[in-house]
């Protein structure tokens, strides 16, 4: 499956107009001799399928190749910086989403149609519909320019994490809060909840031990699906905050036709989505004993 993804991307990339040699040498400065040298060095004169097989052969041996735009910097070196940065930002966004959405969703459900429910539902809608680019700039104006609390760009200290995490996690939190609200509402009307209450359990115990646990499956499903979405949202957020992660690296590599970096980022993205789905499947088994994998 992973190789099909990379094959499609490789094919599309090579079919798209844009000569990496010309971009690398600079259109105004490029001389035929330099262009020929670059094309030969990177094997760009070979048929596309030969180039793909060569790339795939190296990948199997664990070699991601060299970057064209970064003048032969190993792609692995670029990923070594970018992958942890992106992973951290994604995890922070998911954590932010959970921390905000779980209480909000539960409050909305147990105080159905109250002022709290309406206010939080409105906020969650705002979270979903606000473009991350706009939210990012608004936060920068407030927290960086007016209050001088947080830095606008970069990724070196914990302060650099705050705004990108919120920009990336806002939509996730909004969506998650709505899922949690409906899941909790559904779970709360079940017989076992009535039974638990009849047993004399406190509302808190009923909520945390019975309701939330049963509402967890749709939440986990949603989170799994959102991982792929987070990966795509990264391009915008990472560019706005000058975050040195995978999204920015991939976008820059695409513009420069840096084939091997694009391929590597696609591969990492595909692996992440596959792993996220696998994790979701495994969590199903943990959350619901009815689901067991043989």
């Amino acid at each position: 499956m992973l190789f099909i993804v990379t094959l499609v991307v490789f094919g599309v990339l090579h079919m798209a107009p844009g000569d990496p040699a010309l971009i690398l040498a600079g259109p105004s400065e490029a001389t035929p001799a330099v262009l020929a040298q670059i094309r030969q060095e990177w094997g760009l004169n070979d048929p596309v399928y030969v180039q793909y097989v060569r790339w795939a052969g190296r990948i199997v041996r664990g070699d991601l190749g060299l970057s064209m735009a970064y003048n032969k910097m190993p792609v692995a070196d670029l990923l070594r910086v970018a992958v942890p940065k992106t992973l951290n930002l994604n995890l922070a966004a998911i954590l932010f989403g959970l921390v905000v959405a779980v209480p909000a969703g539960v409050i909305c459900a147990i105080r159905k149609y109250s002022l709290w429910d309406h206010a939080l539902s409105l906020l969650s809608l705002l979270g979903i519909s606000m473009p991350s680019f706009w939210l990012a700039l608004m936060m920068m104006i407030l927290f960086s320019v007016k209050l001088h609390w947080l830095p606008t760009a970069g990724a070196t200290t914990w302060k650099h994490y705050v705004m990108p995490t919120i920009a990336l996690g806002a939509a996730l939190a909004g969506g998650l809060a709505q899922i949690i609200r409906s899941s909790v509402l559904e779970a709360i009307s079940n017989d076992y909840v009535r039974t638990a209450r009849a047993k004399g359990l406190t509302e808190r115990t009923v909520l945390f031990k019975h309701v939330l646990k049963n509402a967890a499956i749709p939440i986990v499903t949603y989170l799994g699906y959102r991982v792929a979405y987070l990966m795509s949202g990264l391009v915008v957020v990472e560019t706005v905050f000058a975050w040195p992660g995978m999204g920015r690296l991939a976008a820059d590599a695409l513009f420069r036709r840096d084939y091997f970096v694009v391929q590597a980022t696609v591969l990492v993205g595909a692996v992440t989505v596959v792993l996220a789905n696998l994790l979701v499947d495994l969590l199903y088994g943990t959350l619901d004993p009815h689901i067991r994998y043989q």
């Binding site: 490029a30 970069g154 943990t286």
Partner: protein, 535 residues
């Protein structure tokens, strides 16, 4: 219970990973801004510059954008350099002389100059550097400029002699200005290895390059021209222009080194916390026309297009005055600029008349048609996301419609536009900015306007122009050479292979806390090296 524990452990692991990752970057010390007497240069502090692009290479032969040029030019020095107006001044060479036939250039080097590792700079380094630029395996961007070099001789430790195979007038600006490279250090490395850990003779040394984040330079205490004032200069990558503007306002960066939007410049000018300096770049914004296109190959059509576009209004209203009207590819600030060339002021009536003469009569929908019923229509390419130039294209489209020309606009991703203009030649017109003679300020236009020029963007070809260009490259007498390039400008203004819209002025927004900066190119060694923090 066991499952709950496992879940707890998972969450804790994730949190600890996150915390570890958050703290692993270390904290960045804020810029210290020491100082003493008011007005006098003060040493200290870190200048943080906002850079619009990612650093790709720190070698002077592989630079990719001005993001690379700023650190490259603070680390490396050429035999000569440029000051305002691209005038040549000595740098690593104290003096030089040329033989009568223009074939021999002798450079007398500055003595006692040290590379950043303490080894002395000598004529051996000059020989090594020039040969490296010329070697095709280096794939130097400037390789074509070095082909006239036949041999480099080391006469003594401080004298290098360059023998050319033919007279090459652009030599001083295009070749001798390029950054010198340390033979003893570079010959142990490949170009790709060198460009990640370069050393030079310049006022700043490379301290750290964090890919996709920043390049940090520290002051060279042993610099031959005196230690620079800033302790360090950090070139921080902030690709999004809106973020860069906010980073300036929040004080995180003290200088923006790439075109801020014109409307932002006006706001910064009015703010006492900032200063705005401008730079006459060598760039010209053009509407490049494909001279082999059946419609656009007619000079009269090209001239009518020029008269149909109100270029003054573009500069005044869209570019907020940050540009000068272009009548050719040479900006007025350059010493070989010829002011007496044909100009094309906005005159729709004259444009219409010229189109009538060329056989283009108004059609039923207002768009002109010729005798064969062909519509006077063409498509202009604009880079996707380049809103400033996109807006100019849309405005020009309306003006041209009034004279009966249909200009369609097609937005292409940058790589695609480059492919269509420079490689496949599948284009009618394209709107962008390009730089004359690289960054050397030499008037040589052989790549752009000779029939076989490697950068012949307009596919223009005229044997008379080829002869003028060849004469200009051979002529060693400056006054005679200037006259030749004056004629080239006259011919370009007459033939108008492309519409020269304007020469943009590049504004640089800097914090008012910085003193000593002046109008000029921050990517040259002359500007930032002598600036300092006031407080």
């Amino acid at each position: 219970m066991r499952r709950a524990k496992r879940a707890l452990i998972t969450v804790l692991t994730l949190v600890s990973l996150l915390v570890a990752a958050c703290s692993s970057g270390g904290s960045k010390a804020p810029s210290g801004l020491p100082g003493d007497a008011a007005g006098a240069p003060r040493a200290g502090g870190t200048l943080v510059v906002g850079s619009h692009a990612a650093h790709k290479s720190l070698a002077p032969y592989h630079w990719s954008s001005s993001a690379d040029l700023l650190p490259i030019n603070l680390i490396h020095e050429g035999l000569v350099t440029f000051v305002e107006g691209y005038k040549v001044v000595p740098r690593l060479a104290l003096t030089w002389e040329t033989s009568q036939d223009g074939l021999t250039w002798t450079f007398h080097l500055r003595q006692g100059v040290k590379w950043h590792d303490g080894v002395e700079f000598t004529a051996d380094d000059v020989k090594f550097s020039l040969e490296l630029y010329k070697n095709p395996t280096t794939k130097a961007k400037q390789m074509a400029d070095f082909q006239a070099i036949k041999e480099v001789q080391v006469k003594d430790k401080y004298t290098a002699v360059v023998i050319l195979s033919e007279p090459y007038a652009p030599f001083l600006r295009k070749v001798a200005s390029q950054g010198m490279l340390p033979k003893h250090y570079h010959e142990k490395l490949t170009p790709e290895e060198y460009e990640r850990k370069p050393i030079g003779t310049g006022p700043y040394k490379l301290q750290e390059w964090a890919p996709n984040q920043y390049v940090k330079l520290v002051a060279n205490p042993d610099y031959w021209d005196g230690k620079p004032q800033f302790d360090a200069i950090e070139n921080r990558e902030i690709p999004e222009v809106a973020t860069r503007m906010l980073a300036l306002r929040s004080g995180e960066i003290q200088l923006d080194n790439w075109y801020p939007p014109p409307e932002e410049v006006a706001k910064f000018k009015a703010d006492k916390n900032f200063q705005v300096t401008t730079e006459q770049t060598l760039g010209t914004m053009v509407l490049n026309l494909n001279n082999t296109n059946p419609i656009l190959k007619d000079k009269r059509v090209r001239q009518a297009i020029a008269m149909g576009i109100d270029r003054q209004a573009i500069i005044r209203d869209l570019w907020k005055g940050l540009g000068v009207l272009a009548n050719g590819p040479v900006p007025p600030a350059m010493e070989w600029y010829n002011p007496n060339v044909k100009s094309y002021p906005y005159d729709p009536e004259a444009a219409k008349k010229l189109l009538e003469e060329a056989g283009w009569k108004p059609g039923p929908d207002g768009v002109r048609v010729n005798g064969e019923g062909k519509r006077l229509a063409f498509t202009t390419l604009v880079i996707q996301g380049d809103e400033d130039r996109g807006q100019i294209a849309v405005t020009a489209q309306q003006w041209l419609k009034q004279v009966g020309i249909e200009m369609k606009i097609e937005r292409n991703e940058s790589g695609m536009l480059i492919d269509r203009v420079w490689k496949t030649r599948q284009f009618d017109a394209a709107l962008y900015t390009w730089t004359l003679g690289g960054f050397s300020g030499d008037p040589d236009v052989a790549p752009q306007w000779s029939c076989n020029g490697t950068d012949n963007q307009a596919l223009y070809c005229d044997p008379a122009m080829d002869k003028l260009i060849a004469d200009g490259a051979r002529e060693m007498d400056w006054e005679k050479r200037k006259a030749i390039y004056g004629r080239i400008q006259e011919k370009l203004a007459e033939d108008l292979p492309m519409i020269f819209l304007m020469q943009p002025l590049m504004p640089h927004v800097a914090s008012a806390k910085i003193a000593g900066i002046k109008d000029g190119n921050f990517n040259t060694i002359e500007v930032l090296y002598k600036a300092w923090f006031k407080e």
